[in-house]
Symmetry: C2
């Protein structure tokens, strides 16, 4: 599906300042809101996901969107569409998983309907009280680029689930990578620390579509260059054993880490700096580097969508 | 699908005070939130709905939920899942319809994904500022029962679309009934008038699942009896020509009118009174009456769900 093209059409039709970001910041109400959906056989398969895990991940990815804005996740509504003859146990397990991914937020409503396949759409609301809200266009020259979470694990985990046999990995390593895909942890603590220590504008985004995508979008929307030291990006030791691990780390997606630009760096993992220019400059330890334009990143992105 | 049973399981799993109502009232944030989905071949068919009309109705039914709470509809997010190869024109038409159903509210986000069938899930947010928020359990003995909108039209319209041939109806009458099904008008003005003139508790609900359902739920959750004068219920002249029109008027659903209980009755259409007791008492002009228990109403409800 031509997702980016469709979003352009929506933006043109609605002429809204809000469309295009993962969260909309509604200043008059003091909230941010986001909505994200998971469709069976597009975003997940029942072969890999138990109902509990599906409930967990559906909520976790939406909590992650709120965290990316810097707001405090507060409330969620869940629309769940299910095939006829779904067993009661599925509903119970799904909502137990959803509840366990809330980390203090609360599920307050939604609806349940029939459908051919499983379809989950979650709407999440965050409070901006006491928080400075991020913007993808908020990065300023001189700020540091900081990161949370480990990168590349989720995509390798999905690759294992899809049948790829990495003989070089131990079973506990495989399990860790699969868990990263199935039950990602929203970066609530990092989000709070970033959003409560900012004095001015800053950028923050989750890495759901890949770390390179997040860096590239921030650079593009802020009109700056992000200079990144590749070796500082946190990942898992198991990835060293995987061929083309760089592609997983940069473009794998679904790790739901956060990347932010900030003046205040105490206790954060710094991976780079905001410079004047455009695009993302990736420096390697051997002194070489890659310059990634927005277009190059988009072309390499991990895609859920069939073109 | 066993919708009510599933909602019970969700309530038990989450132990939340919010689940079960169409809107959740989040007092700390000063908002109400609701989410409602439309699934192809469950809630609508592309044979009857143009993309524009689908966009319109998806938003209208969610605006109606906010109106039922008494809040002011402010913002919406839309999750749209579409088959591959959906044309650009579909997106444009859909969002033009969605925009036209906003009546002052604004679409601020959502997402777009692939899927086998069309799936729309809308989340709506309303502001409680200057409004007294309704509750299904808020009806008090002595209040009047007031109503907005016309009832029974939408279900007859759907019946015509499904192939029922009402030879007794003129073409313009058929068109009016079909329009009531395809493009229902949210009762924003009535909602505002009710929610700004209440001094204390009151009940309000939309008639999306049928007028009898709304009356029965309010009676049950408020612990009162609603005594209704059937002949005062507003409908369309065309329905007089339809056999079993009473079933359409009481159980048809999808008219998206509002029914409320109120102390203040000026300018409202009064259809009955709140009495002590339980259930709904329907008085007819010939002096006869029906007593409807909650169970009887549930059994007769118009259902989207295959059991």
């Amino acid at each position: 599906m031509k997702e980016k093209e469709f979003i352009n059409i929506i933006q043109n039709t609605l002429s809204s300042k809000y469309i295009g970001d993962d969260c909309a910041y509604l200043e008059d109400l003091g909230i941010v809101v986001s909505q994200d959906s998971l469709v069976e056989e597009v975003h997940f398969s029942r072969r890999y996901f138990t109902p509990y895990q599906l409930g967990y991940k559906s909520v976790a990815v939406n909590i992650s969107d709120i965290c990316a804005s810097g707001a405090e996740p507060k409330y969620l509504t869940i629309a769940l569409s299910l095939p006829d003859k779904t067993e009661d146990k599925f509903i119970e397990d799904f909502y137990n998983g959803a509840k366990d991914a809330c980390f203090g937020a609360e599920i307050v409503g939604g609806d349940i309907t029939g459908a051919d396949k499983i379809y989950v759409s979650v709407c999440a609301i965050g409070s901006v009280k006491g928080r400075k809200i991020s913007s993808r266009g908020g990065a300023k020259v001189g700020q540091k680029v900081v990161i949370s979470g480990k990168h590349g694990l989720s995509a390798v985990g999905l690759s294992i689930l899809s049948g790829q046999n990495y003989e070089q990995l131990f079973e506990d390593e495989k399990k860790r990578l699969i868990d990263a895909h199935i039950m990602p942890k929203p970066q609530m603590e990092f989000s709070k620390r970033i959003a409560t220590c900012q004095m001015g504008k800053y950028a923050m985004m989750d890495t759901s579509d890949g770390l390179a995508d997040a860096l590239s979008v921030i650079a593009d929307m802020s009109g700056v260059m992000l200079e990144i030291y590749y070796d500082k990006i946190p990942t898992d030791a198991a990835l060293v054993k995987i061929p083309n691990n760089k592609d997983f780390i940069l473009y794998g997606g679904e790790d739901y880490g956060l990347v932010a630009t900030t003046d205040e760096v105490s206790d954060f993992t710094v991976i780079g700096e905001v410079k004047s220019g455009s695009g993302v400059k990736l420096n390697y330890s051997d002194g070489t580097y890659d310059l990634l334009s927005k277009k190059e990143v988009e072309n390499k992105l991990y895609k859920h969508f069939k073109e």
